[in-house]
Structure formats: structure tokens, C-alpha cells
Amino acid sequence: MAGSDPGFEEEAVRLLPSLYHFARWLTSHPPDAEDLVQETYRRALRSRHRFLPATDLKAWLFTIMRHAAIDLFWRTRREGERVDLEEAEGTGDARLCLDPRGGDETLLRLDLREALARLPAIYREAIFLSDVEGFTVREIAAILGCPEGTVKARLSRGRLALRRMLREKGQSRRQEAVR
């Protein structure tokens, strides 16, 4: 049983950096992220008898964290700035302004972080789980509680939206440089 397994606790602590990173992206605010991490561990410890040893502890903890984030923050916050996703669909230029060889590396990092922060949460969390944490579509679907097709759509649209925001940022920088 997970509740009497010291490995459960060790593994849960080992996952703290990943959970804190996810919390930072869910909340965009370090103190909130810390609260969220603590709440996640509280809930996990309280319901650890429900954890099935053969399943993935990391995915289980991420699922708990996301529910906690919804309870603690998302239900009360205002809608963030959203991007027009339909406009983001389209051309096949893979490099765009994401190629660091075409611009300033530091600016690219700042722009990408800013774009991610502006991205609606449903896309940001899917991209984070896939591209940073390496979860599969099936695992992400379980964490987010939605069908796999929805996950794929969010990943694709989220990346296109990021691309569009970065391109706009790059254009605005170029215009400023010309002036």
C-alpha cells in the first residue's frame, strides 16, 4: 500500500522541482506557486491510499496540483489576455523568429517567456506538460481530464499562437530599430 511505502514519500520529494516548476507556470507568481505546491502535497498525503502503486506518481501529483490550482486560483481570477487563435493557423515557415541565429538570444528568451505568460492557461499547461515535462498525450489527457484529441488540438494551437506572438514581437522590434 502506498500509504506505508517510504518510497512513496521519497519519490514525492524527488518530484518537488518538477512540481514547483509546473506551479510557477500555473500561477505566474512565486508566492502563489509555493502555496500551490504545499496544497498539492497536503492533498496527496491525505489521499495517498487512493494512489495505485503501478501507476505514475508524477502524473498523479500533477493531476492533484492542477485541481488544486483550479480550486485556489482559477475560479476567482479574471480572464487573461487571449490571442486570436484562428489567425495563428496558417503558413509553414518553421524558422520564423524562433531561430536564435536570426536574432538576439536574450531577447528571444524574454520574448518566449513573455509569450508563454500571455498564452491562455489551457494552452500553456498543455505545452508545459508535453514540451518541458515530456508527458505523452495520453498522460496529459489524464492530468487535464479531457480527451486526447483535445490535448493535441491545444498543443498545436498553443504553439501556433506562441509563434504568432513571437513574430509580432519581432516585427515590432524591427520597426523600433528602423526608427
Partner: protein
Amino acid sequence: MTCQEARLHFQDRMDGALAPPLADALEAHLATCPDCRGALGLQQAVRVEVRRVLVPPPVPTRLEREVRDLIRQARGERRRLPRWAVPVAAAALIFLTLGGVTYYASTVQDSRPRTLLAELVEDHIRLRIKDHPADTHETDPERLKAWFESRLDFPVVLPRRVADELRLEGGEISYILGRRVACLIYTRGDDLLTLYLLPRRGLPAAGLPGRDLGGVPLRVGQHREYRAAIWEGGELLYALVSDLDDEALLRAARQMTTL
């Protein structure tokens, strides 16, 4: 393979999760479609950059200490079992020994039997002791169904008929046998009734004493002082839980079995 079909598989290709026949078909399409090659290249480029730029922040030392404290506290709480824990455990053991049904989560390799009945009752008790036992107080069936379906990964079919004496208070997402399930909350005067809707897949229905309720096979069980009436409908398993007596519970269930 059309462009639309090809793009459905981009993510699986990037994850290396595409089976050979489909992978071959996708590669053949990509070889002849510059638009899809470009679209896939864009997805890959964004992924590479996100991975490169998003370096995990260091965990604050204070946070790590607080997490370890939480774990230590949880260990301490486990040693101090509540007074009711032993009789409840004994009752559960007797229940299992005397033929109570055990359900197994078939999707995971877990050797421990977990009783559906016990989990339903424990969740029912959790809701009883909450001040406001509902995540949503929506009572319009269509809107409540939509609320559940936006949070669950299965179609939710609410009972079309409910006894007049029951008042729908709202709904909540519950966790039963490790699954997210729908829970409708009803009151009858001061009594609380919870109706759980679970995907039937992976929950072999057998073991509890069966009764025929107007053509619908119904299973009833008791755990602690609570009773549950369980029946199947379409792809779902329905479980009505309450501390009502058998007659009142079956009367309430009878109405609900008409889907």
C-alpha cells in the same frame, strides 16, 4: 492520407508514439506535401525552443523544508489512528468476508482489492461533513450535464425522473476507485442522498445481493450505517448512497432507474 488526417498525427510523431503503418503513411504524405512539412517543422521548432528556454527555477529552501514537514506530520497522523478506525476496519473485513463485493480497477496492475461500496460511502460521508457539499449549485439538468462533461472524460447521462420528495442541490466531481466521477447531490428534508455516475468499463458488477426493480437489476449493499443501491444504465454505473432505510432508498432509486 489527407492534410487534415496527417496533422492529427503530428504530436504522436513528435512523441515517437506512432505505430509503423500509420507512421509510414504519414511519412509518405509529408514527402509530397510542403505545407504539412512546414506545419510539422513549426511545431517541432516551438517545442525545441520551449524546452531550451524553460529552465526549471530553483526550489526555495524554505519550500522544501515545509514539504518535508508536511510529510513528517502525515507520518505522525498515521500513527495516531482515530478511535473509530479499528471498528470500521473490522466491519469492513467482516463485510468482505461475508461476501461483500470487491471491485478491481482493471486498468491498473494493483493487487489490492478496493471495495466500490466502501469508497462510495466514504465519499458520501465526506460530502455530509462539508458545509456546502457541492462544487456547483446548478440544478438545470442540461446545464449540469454540460458542467460535468466539461470536467469528465465520459458522457454523463442524468436520470430523467427523480422522486418528487428529492431536491437536487447541485453536483460535485468525486474520486472513486481513483477515477473522476460525477456526483449529484440531493436532499430530502434533512437527509442527504448522493448519486454517483461512473463509467461502467472496468467495474465488473457482481457480488452484491441483487434485486429486480421494475425490470432493472439492482444491487444493494450496506457499509457502516449507510446503504447504496447500484444499477447499470448504458455505459454507466449508477450508485445512490444514503443513510435512508432500505424502503426509502429503493423508492428513490426506482424513479431514477428510468433513464
